[in-house]
Amino acid sequence: MLIVVPKDLEVRVRDIARTILRAPFTKRTWSELLYIVVGVPMAAVGLAFVGVTMSAGLGLAITFIGLAVIGLSLRGSRGLGGWHRGIARSLLGEQILDPDPFAPRPGFLGWLQSVLRDRTAWRAVAYLLIKGPLAFIGIVTALSVWYDAFACLTFPFQNASRPAEFGLVRLFSGPGFLSLGSGGFFHSLAIFVTGGLLLFVAPWVGRAVVNVDRIVMRALLAPDAMDLRVRSLERARAQTLDASAATLRQIERDLHDGTQAQLVALAMRLGMAKEKLSAVDDPDLATVRDLVDEAHRGAKEAIVELRDIARGIHPPALDIGLEGALATLAARNTVPTELTLSLHDRPTPAIEAIAYFCVAELLANVAQHANASRASISCAQHGRWLRLVVRDDGTGGAQPSRLGSSSSGLAGLSDRVRAVDGRFDIVSPLHGPTVVTVDLPMQT
């Protein structure tokens, strides 16, 4: 330990020293400097645009045209914001997410309403207003350090008595420091050394300037937390709609292929039996009996299929509560299943349905794929959350994608869980055990 720590320290010191020594010569430093330089005309354009259009718009605001001008100003600012974002991306490698594209409602009034409410555009206006002074201060700060560095480094080779025209140095040092022993060898050497130091300081000043810009940019040009939340909710809503459309399609398919076909076949057999019976002279009673027998069997099968389909839409067991419904599921499972419940409140019906279908699907998977000898369900309330844990001692290796191929399977359920801000988590190492944890809010 006594040896390791200094060595570690030595390595770190060497790294820092190397970083400092290399800084003036890295691509990053010069990209940042270029960004600072390019930023000035861009900031000027942005500031001028916002200044002119917004003041024109506000001046005319009493009329309808004023609102339209502000609208155009916002649209332009949004575009300029995107331009700044693009430059930052290519020169600084700053990965700022693009906000959602502007999607106006149809019609001019719809456009105006959308554009005036476009938070992204208003934030871009704020950025352009801040970027103006920021770019100016930034370039003065960064360039004067570089200028000083080069002026000091070249001073000994120039024909001047003192570095009077230097940028920042002149502001801070006055005649005292650098004009000490004016004109002599040591004076020149001191200025040269100062220049050398400034050369290694300048990159960090530039970086600091750029970092301030980055912070402002992240705050104003990136989609903000609310945008991101809206985006994730929109995605969840789309998934829910898709999942419910897929569920309806599945129900239609089940009815079409199962019950409807059964009933058509049933009607067909009864039709045949009817015609045979009405053959007055010689009713073929043996065949009629067979036909009625088949029709009878078909009717019973149709009843069972219909019951299964109905249960798939809404399990009647849920009407008496999640506890009872889960108990039925556990009892019906072919693998011995233990159920632990600790619920103080009743979750909302939507949550109960999701919880029920998750457990039903998971238990079906355990029975079909897991080769398990035991399973357990735990359903517990933790404050405003409901935690379901389904565990089995099977062979493991389950993956969400393999568990449910269609959206009515487990993949669809995990979409539904996420749609209500829940979590769906599978831990299934090879050779088991498999533990699936589902967290759901008690209320939707």
């Binding site: 058509v264 076949a265 009607a267 045949m272």
Partner: protein, 218 residues
């Protein structure tokens, strides 16, 4: 056409396929094949050259309109093959596509119609002999969807009944027995309908179906 009619059945539901086979055998048809998908149907028709095919519209692999596509293909290759399409739903668009060139030997029925065995068998025989069998539901939908709804209102109630049965593809004799009127009365109603719609009178049953449907669909 001598001997019993030779029928191929394409239906993916095993229950219905078996039921249809049983029903048609019982009625003295020869079943050349009973298949469950459109490819098997194409192969079977090429091999056996049946008189008529009973085809489920919704079959694998996508369960949308495979049967209809197969039927349209088969019509192109086997001009004399009668095709009775069979479905749980009536889609007017499918009917329009089927009837696009020629209604001869084409039928489109709801699956429910097999419950009335005699009517179903009659429709199948009509299709096999180059006639037309459209489900009353198709006719109703075409009436409903027609932009000429007001033209239909110029018909008397009796004429409308005759028009419906005619559009289903029935002959004058069948219409007469269905409505319990004389064949002469049916002929008179048909002539009135054609003159009210300003259509040229044609003799063959399926041509007049086509004329009526084109009129309603236009």
């Amino acid at each position: 056409m001598g001997g019993p009619l030779r029928v191929v059945i394409a239906e993916d539901s095993a229950i219905l396929r078996d039921g249809l086979v049983q029903l048609l055998l019982d009625r003295g048809f020869v079943i050349t094949d009973a298949v469950s998908n459109p490819d098997a149907l194409r192969a079977s028709v090429d091999r056996e050259c049946p008189d008529v095919a009973v085809v489920d519209i919704r079959m694998p692999p996508t369960f949308t309109d495979e049967g209809l596509r197969a039927a349209i293909d088969l019509r192109r290759l086997h001009r004399r093959l009668g095709i009775l399409l069979f479905s749980q739903y009536i889609e007017t668009r499918y009917a329009a596509e089927l009837l696009a060139d020629d209604a001869a030997g084409i039928g489109y029925l709801l699956k429910d119609r097999v419950a009335d065995v005699s009517d179903f068998v009659e429709a199948l025989e009509r299709v096999a002999s180059g006639g037309t069998a459209l489900d009353p539901e198709v006719v109703t939908q075409l009436f409903g969807a027609s932009r000429r709804g007001d033209s239909i209102s110029v018909l008397s109630a009796r004429e409308r009944d005759v028009l419906s049965l005619m559009a289903e593809g029935r002959s004058n004799a069948a219409i007469a027995s269905g409505l319990v009127i004389s064949e002469g009365a049916v002929e008179k109603h048909v002539a009135n309908i054609f003159s009210k719609f300003d259509l040229p009178v044609t003799q063959s049953d399926h041509r007049r179906v086509l004329a009526v449907l084109r009129f309603l669909d236009s």
